[in-house]
């Protein structure tokens, strides 16, 4: 498709709106990488649609020069489902936040993913409600002190990747706002995956939850806290890649890659595993006990909702011929009044 298509530049996807995010917000980097990815997909701006809910992150569509809807809080996947079901020719992106997508919008996220509608859902996870000025979110850690939890949150947080996998996700990945190249790679893969692509991005809200992801961005420690998933490769991490994850029964453990343990003894990543238990196990890895994986947890093929829906229409039409009003009006027994 990209072949017979004029080469596009990031600026082709830049809108004329001035950006209203706080200076230093992680959203800027995500926007920048997205603008780099879009021109490479071979999809022209007019064939691209961004749909968001409500939140700082959900301001995103205004800043890309494509079609877009800044909808209502939590419902973006539903809008996207209606659009993609009827316009499979479009490339549809959903931009959501940890509150928008997992609090009020959790159910729509769940159902969009299980239907495997061919859209890309990008969840900006800053573990806080930004736009409403700093209440805790479903991904905020227990004990998190916020405007609405002066004595600390008592809600056990949700793990977005685990939720996506339980929703039967065919594609689930994670990246970090400031990892430009990694983010570009993940967004590109999400765009190219057929079916619902779910991407969680650790995003820093420097006003209401600054440093939430410091352990993954601070040069001095990040390598020990991050695990880059690579398909078919053993799980190795650490500044000098001297640590790995090994399975003990079904329980993962961190091991040193000294003489005793070899890379071959480690757990190998398989993003194409037909069942999701490996991806799920990886999604459970959390600091401080483990490094947190970034990259693609799962990428498998399954017919998409829009594809099957339109296939049923095609087949019915083929079998019964395109419906006509005459046929419709005569489907009941009728009589003539002279």
């Amino acid at each position: 498709m990209s072949v017979d298509f004029p080469v596009l530049k990031p600026t082709d996807f830049a809108s004329d709106q001035d950006i209203r995010w706080c200076p230093g917000c992680g959203d800027y980097s995500i926007l920048a990488q997205m603008k780099k990815v879009l021109p490479t997909l071979g999809v022209p701006p007019e064939k691209t649609v961004f749909i968001s809910g409500i939140g700082c992150s959900s301001r995103f569509p205004y800043y890309v020069n494509t079609y877009g809807i800044h909808s209502i809080h939590g419902r973006a996947p539903a809008f996207a489902t209606g659009l993609k079901s009827t316009r499979p020719d479009l490339s549809v992106w959903v931009i959501t936040g940890d509150g928008d997508g997992l609090s009020i919008g959790g159910n729509h996220l769940l159902h969009a993913i299980r239907r495997n509608i061919d859209i890309n859902i990008i969840l900006f996870n800053n573990s806080i409600y930004g736009l409403t000025k700093g209440q805790y979110s479903p991904t905020s850690p227990m004990g998190h002190v916020t405007k609405s939890t002066p004595r600390g949150s008592i809600d056990h947080p949700l793990n977005p990747i685990s939720v996506a996998l339980a929703a039967e996700a065919t594609f689930a990945a994670r990246s970090v706002d400031v990892y430009a190249s990694h983010l570009i790679e993940i967004l590109t893969r999400a765009a190219n995956h057929r079916g619902t692509s779910f991407v969680e991005i650790y995003q820093n809200c420097n006003v209401f939850n600054d440093g939430a992801w410091e352990q993954f961005t601070d040069k001095s420690v990040k390598d020990d806290n991050l695990l880059q998933l690579e398909h078919g490769k053993p799980l190795i991490f650490g500044k000098n890649r001297n640590k790995g994850i090994r399975l003990n029964g079904i329980t993962p453990e961190v091991v040193d890659l000294d003489g005793q343990v070899a890379a071959d003894d480690l757990l190998f990543h398989d993003e194409k595993a037909p069942e999701s238990q490996l991806a799920f196990l990886l999604s459970r890895l959390r600091t401080p006990r483990f490094p947190e994986p970034i990259g693609v947890f799962r990428a498998v093929e399954r017919p998409t909702y829009d594809q099957m829906l339109n296939e049923q229409v095609r087949v019915s039409t083929a079998e019964r011929g395109p419906g006509t009003l005459e046929e419709l009006f005569n489907s009941n027994e009728s009589w003539l009044v002279p």
Binding site: E46, H70, L90, Q312, S334, P338
Partner: protein
């Protein structure tokens, strides 16, 4: 398919000709009364009677056998003249068990025919119906009505005896026996039903045969027993010439949707979540995939309305269907649709409220909600169907307005219309008027596209994704006039609020002059929606007695017709009958300062003609 000419031998007994008959079939949910009623309706329609029906079933899937809660009823009126309602009093009641009898007897006219299955009145049956004594032995009842006790169970078993099927199966044929008897009584042709049996049970030959026999046995029972002196004949009604079929409200609504999509060259998308009494629309539409119809059973009503907005943004004819509680859930989404100014239809098939209320009963109590149930100033046009067949035209008009003015629109129906049926004049497809919709074309001049630049109707352009050069973003924040950019400017907000209101108000220019039935003085009855039949009939009745009563039935609730104010002023009294606590009457009073009197009924049941007639008499 058209009715094949039938070789049907009428009864040899004397027959009395009448102008119309109202029959109610009542029995256990399991007894197949709905099927019986539908057959009687279709057959009557086929012989050219005008018909009107009123099915009434319990909220439970299968309430306990024999209990009052489990009673399922189907009322049908067939007549030699044009009729608008299934009738008030019953000429005949068929009661398959004590519960059915006790819960329906009150509606049977004096000296009316009461046919019962005499074998379902033993103590066990009476106990289930919470009855102390056997009503069949009741002096009074025997005096008041023409009781005919038929041992249906054994007669049916006898008829199918040599087919060697279990009595359980055999007993299932009882309703066909009753049907045969009723068909005989009203000289109905059994052939259409025989054809129906053939199709329906094509896979189960023995069942088909059993039902066939039961049907004939019932017919012969009428012909042979003393019980019945004569049959009744209802001559064909003088309906306008044309081809007719019998149609239910939700069915006509589905046909209207498919037709509107066809005529406007649009792909039809339904996003919906099941709820009584709207579910059948989803079921029906999902069967029309070869018409290019796409149906989406959403995870809830919020997802349903949002999916529809997404589909509309993409250029489809997008609609959502629901009832009371589900519609309430859509409020926020519909508010966004108002802001986005995208065309789509929201159907509210009203049921008894508040809350879960009376799911299988009818009511008109959602009017104020659809008008005002959104945050902020959020005007939406509202149009209401008045009868099953009328749903077809209502939908087509709704879609025309939605696309002409670029607005979401509400279509109101109710449980009574949805499940009721009437003969419907089949339109000539070729004669239906196409309504093409224009979308702005690709722009390459580099100038920014202006999504909120309006035309004479104040409608904004419906620019579709995929069109080069028209990329734009819309959302729920207030937007700047013309550009559609976010704007918090006070004056702009005022302007946009006014413009959205004006746009909807302007629809009145598109509404045909209000048709007034009757004199230009005296009492004016103003109604809307499913009460059309009862009100029109009542007005005619009272007028027959020489009283000056006129009737206006409103199709549009928002905006109200521009000539309504002038009309109202002509009358001494204005009566507004509604199956709610007076929603329309409030609107009329507020808008025209006319002392409209509300005649309110909130019982989950349609008006009886007599109720409306009395109310009119009262205020004359």
């Amino acid at each position: 398919m058209n009715s094949t000419t039938s070789t049907f031998s009428p009864s040899s007994k004397p027959s009395e000709t009448v102008q119309g008959v109202t029959v109610r079939l009542a029995g256990d949910s399991g007894d197949g009364m709905q099927l019986l009623g539908t057959q009687l309706t279709n057959t009557s329609a086929l012989v050219g009677n005008d018909v009107a029906t009123f099915p009434d079933f319990p909220a439970e899937i299968r309430a306990p056998r024999g209990t009052r809660a489990g009673v399922s009823g189907f009322q049908v009126r067939f007549a030699a003249e044009e009729i608008f309602t299934p009738g008030d009093g019953l000429d005949a009641l068929i009661a398959m068990n004590p519960a059915a009898l006790v819960t329906n007897l009150a509606d049977l006219k004096d000296n009316g025919i009461l046919i019962v299955n005499s074998e379902s009145f033993d103590d066990k049956d009476l106990k289930l119906a919470k009855m102390a004594a056997n009503p069949l032995d009741d002096e009074l009842i025997q005096k008041k009505y023409r009781i005919i006790k038929v041992p249906m169970t054994s007669l049916t078993r006898g008829a199918v005896a040599d087919l060697g099927m279990s009595t359980k199966i055999a007993d299932r044929c009882k309703n066909f026996f009753a049907m045969g008897l009723v068909f005989w009584l009203y000289g109905r042709d059994v052939n259409p039903t025989l054809r129906f049996i053939e199709e329906k049970f094509s896979s189960k030959a023995d069942i088909a045969e059993a039902n066939r026999r039961a049907l004939n046995a019932g017919w012969n029972y009428g012909e042979t027993t003393e019980g019945f002196a004569s049959t009744y004949q209802v001559p064909p009604a003088k309906l306008p010439a044309g081809r007719y079929c019998n149609i239910m409200g939700n069915e006509a609504l589905v046909w209207g949707l498919i037709t509107a999509a066809h005529l406007s060259g649009k792909q039809l998308f339904l996003g919906s979540y099941p709820i009584t009494p709207a579910s059948d629309i989803l079921h029906e539409l999902s069967r029309f995939k070869h018409f290019g119809v796409r149906t989406f059973q959403a995870e809830d009503e919020i997802s349903a309305i949002c999916s529809v907005i997404g589909a509309s943004f993409g250029g489809s004819m997008a609609v959502t269907t629901s009832s009371g509680p589900g519609v309430a859930l859509k409020s926020e989404g519909i508010g966004l649709a108002v802001m986005l100014e995208l065309p789509l239809i929201v159907f509210d098939i009203q049921r008894g409220g508040p809350s879960t209320g009376l799911p299988t009963k009818t009511e008109q109590s959602d009017l104020m909600m659809v008008l005002y149930g959104r945050n902020g100033e959020s005007p939406i046009p509202v149009i209401a169907a008045r009868s099953p067949g009328d749903c077809f035209d209502t939908v087509i008009e709704a879609w025309r307005v939605a696309t002409t003015y670029m607005t979401p629109i509400y279509v109101l129906s109710d449980g009574y219309i949805a499940n009721g049926a009437e003969p419907w004049k089949i339109p000539i497809a070729a004669e239906l008027q196409k309504s093409e919709i224009r979308h702005p074309e690709a722009a390459n001049n580099g100038a920014p596209f202006l999504p909120y630049k309006r035309n004479d109707q104040l409608a904004r352009p419906w620019a579709l994704p995929g069109t080069p050069g028209l990329m734009h973003r819309i959302g729920g924040l207030e937007k700047e006039d013309v550009t559609g950019n976010i704007s918090y400017d006070p004056v702009n907000h005022q302007h946009m609020v006014n413009t959205r209101a004006k746009k909807i108000a302007n629809i009145a220019n598109d509404i045909p002059p209000t048709e007034v039935d009757g004199p230009d003085h005296g009492v004016l009855v103003v109604s809307w929606g499913g009460t059309y039949g009862a009100c029109r009939t009542a007005v005619h009745q009272v007028r027959k007695d020489g009283k000056a009563v006129a009737h206006v039935h409103l199709r549009w609730l928002n905006p109200l017709p521009s000539d309504l104010g002038a009309i109202l002023k002509r009358y001494k009294k204005v009566l507004v009958p509604e199956l709610n606590t007076g929603h329309l009457s409030m609107l009329i009073r507020a808008k025209y300062l006319v002392d409209a009197v509300s005649f309110s009924k909130v019982q989950g049941k349609p008006f009886a003609v007599s109720e409306v007639a009395n109310a009119i008499e009262q205020i004359i």
